[in-house]
Amino acid sequence: MPIRTIVRLTPAKPKAGETFKLQVVAQHPNEPGTRKDAEGKIIPANYINLVEIYFEGEKVAEARPGPSTSANPLYGFMFKAEKAGTFTVKLKDLSGDTGEGATKLELA
């Protein structure tokens, strides 16, 4: 099942040379592998362990989160606005599920 991925820029239209934040929210339980279900059995670990950011096809940042990331996690990055283009975010979890989200960077 694909991971629902939402990408947002703040401010939405930065000026050239200005820094802006790129925030990614994923809909994912991020099971750490330490929690137990109602019957006392350990829920197997399944968390997002790879977050990649691409700008116009070129990889610009990478994060490798561990099991101690909250459910429905947020990942925040900061960039300097240079030229307009498209950011693509790719996620991957332990079970091999992937998620992809994109947003356009427009300069004010």
């Binding site: 750490p32 610009v60 940042a61 994060a63 996690p73 925040g76």
Partner: protein
């Protein structure tokens, strides 16, 4: 003792107490567990806690108190140019898996924000690997009311 003298002496005493309290808190962080952290540092970086240099170039923002350990905002900002930062790591001393995240900025600015699970009240560390091989450290401590790992 009249009222004025009483106020003066208690005021001085309270002030001295406040001053004495600050360094005492700065020495040992609440929820510190260096043995657990050491293992994670060795596994991730191949270096121990003594190889880390405390640095005020790193700004680690954590809440002082988190109602729920399941969703604690963490933010780290490094006052170095991007091309000098190889990776940013976050660790929580008391977590079963202390290594929270490794972030490689590449073309991004050396800034990372996320939300983490904390098992219990814990010291949080931001470790920055620079391209010239230095390891910089900033610490914070978050008190947790309900743990987020169990």
């Amino acid at each position: 003792m009249n009222r004025r003298a009483f106020l003066r002496t208690t005021g001085v005493a309270l002030g001295a107490l406040a001053l004495a309290g600050v360094p005492a808190r700065a020495q040992g962080l609440e929820g510190e567990d260096l043995a657990n952290l050491e293992k994670a540092l060795q596994a991730t970086l191949g270096k121990g806690f003594k190889d880390l240099t405390p640095s005020n170039l790193i700004k680690l923002t954590m809440p002082a108190i988190a109602e729920s350990g399941a969703n604690v905002p963490a933010e780290v900002e490094v006052g170095l140019p991007s091309d000098q930062v190889k990776a940013i790591h976050l660790f929580a001393d008391k977590n079963p898996t202390p290594h929270l995240v490794a972030f490689m900025p590449m073309k991004a600015l050396p800034y990372y924000a996320t939300r983490v699970r904390l098992a219990e009240t814990s010291a949080i560390r931001a470790v920055v690997e620079t391209t010239d091989g230095k390891l910089l450290l900033a610490s914070a401590s978050t008190r947790v009311t309900v743990g987020g790992c169990g």
